[in-house]
C-alpha cells in the first residue's frame, strides 16, 4: 500500500502529513485533557475552556481537508477523498450509536474523545484500500 502513496503529488503528501500531525495532536490532547478532568476538580469555566481546546484539532482538520479539496486538481482523487470521508463519517456514526448504549456500563474512554481519530483512521484506511484496488 505504501507504493500507492508514491504516486501522490507533493501537495497531496503535504496535506496528508498535516492531517496525520493533527491526528497525533488530537490523540495527545484527548489523553491529556481526560487525565486532567479525572484527577482534578475543575470549575465549570475551566471545563468549558477544556472543551473549547478539545475541538481545536477538529476545526483545524476540517479546515485542512477543505483547503485540500479546494486545491486538488485531480478530480478522481478528490472523488476518492470525499467517498473515504463519507465512509469515515458513517463508521463514526455507527460506533457512536453503539457506544452510547455501552459507555455508561463500562470504563472505556468516552467515544466522543476519540471520534476524530476514528474518523481519520477509517477515512485513511478506506482511501488506501481504494487507491490499492485501483493501483
Amino acid at each position: 500500500m505504501r507504493s500507492c502513496r508514491m504516486h501522490l503529488s507533493g501537495y497531496q503528501r503535504r496535506s496528508m502529513r498535516t492531517i496525520e500531525i493533527l491526528m497525533g495532536i488530537c490523540i495527545a490532547l484527548s489523553i491529556l485533557l481526560q487525565a486532567i478532568l479525572e484527577r482534578h476538580s475543575l470549575s465549570m469555566v475551566t471545563r468549558y475552556g477544556i472543551a473549547v481546546l478539545s475541538i481545536a484539532p477538529v476545526i483545524a482538520t476540517i479546515t485542512v481537508v477543505a483547503r485540500y479539496l479546494r486545491g486538488e486538481k485531480d478530480e478522481y482523487l478528490r472523488n476518492l477523498v470525499v467517498e473515504s470521508m463519507l465512509w469515515g463519517l458513517g463508521f463514526v456514526l455507527v460506533a457512536d450509536t453503539f457506544f452510547s448504549y455501552v459507555q455508561p456500563y463500562s470504563s472505556l474512554i468516552p467515544f466522543g474523545n476519540i471520534s476524530l481519530d476514528v474518523f481519520i483512521v477509517t477515512a485513511s484506511i478506506t482511501l488506501e484500500v481504494k487507491l490499492w484496488r485501483n493501483r
Binding site: C4, H7, L8, S9, K73, D74, E75, Y76, L77, N79, L131, N134, R135
Partner: protein, 68 residues
C-alpha cells in the same frame, strides 16, 4: 460509459503514467477512466480530446446507446 482510451494510448505507445503526466492527473485517475470505474468531467474529457486530436464522441460512447 465506454471509452477507447486504452486503444488510443496504445497507438501512441504511451504508458498510463505518460498519459497521466500529460493530463496533469494521477496514474490512478487514468486507470480508473480506462477501466470505466470513473467518468471524467467535461473539462477533463475536452483535455483528453485535445491531447488525442479527436472529438469527445470518438473517445467516449454511451453504453446504453451502444447496446440499442
Amino acid at each position: 460509459m465506454k471509452n477507447r482510451l486504452r486503444v488510443l494510448r496504445a497507438e501512441r505507445n504511451w504508458s498510463q503514467a505518460d498519459l497521466a503526466q500529460k493530463l496533469e492527473v494521477s496514474r490512478q485517475s487514468v486507470n480508473a477512466i480506462e477501466t470505466g470505474k470513473f467518468d471524467p468531467s467535461l473539462p477533463l474529457a475536452f483535455r483528453l480530446a485535445r491531447l488525442f486530436e479527436t472529438s469527445i464522441e470518438s473517445i467516449f460512447s454511451d453504453e446504453s446507446e451502444a447496446n440499442s
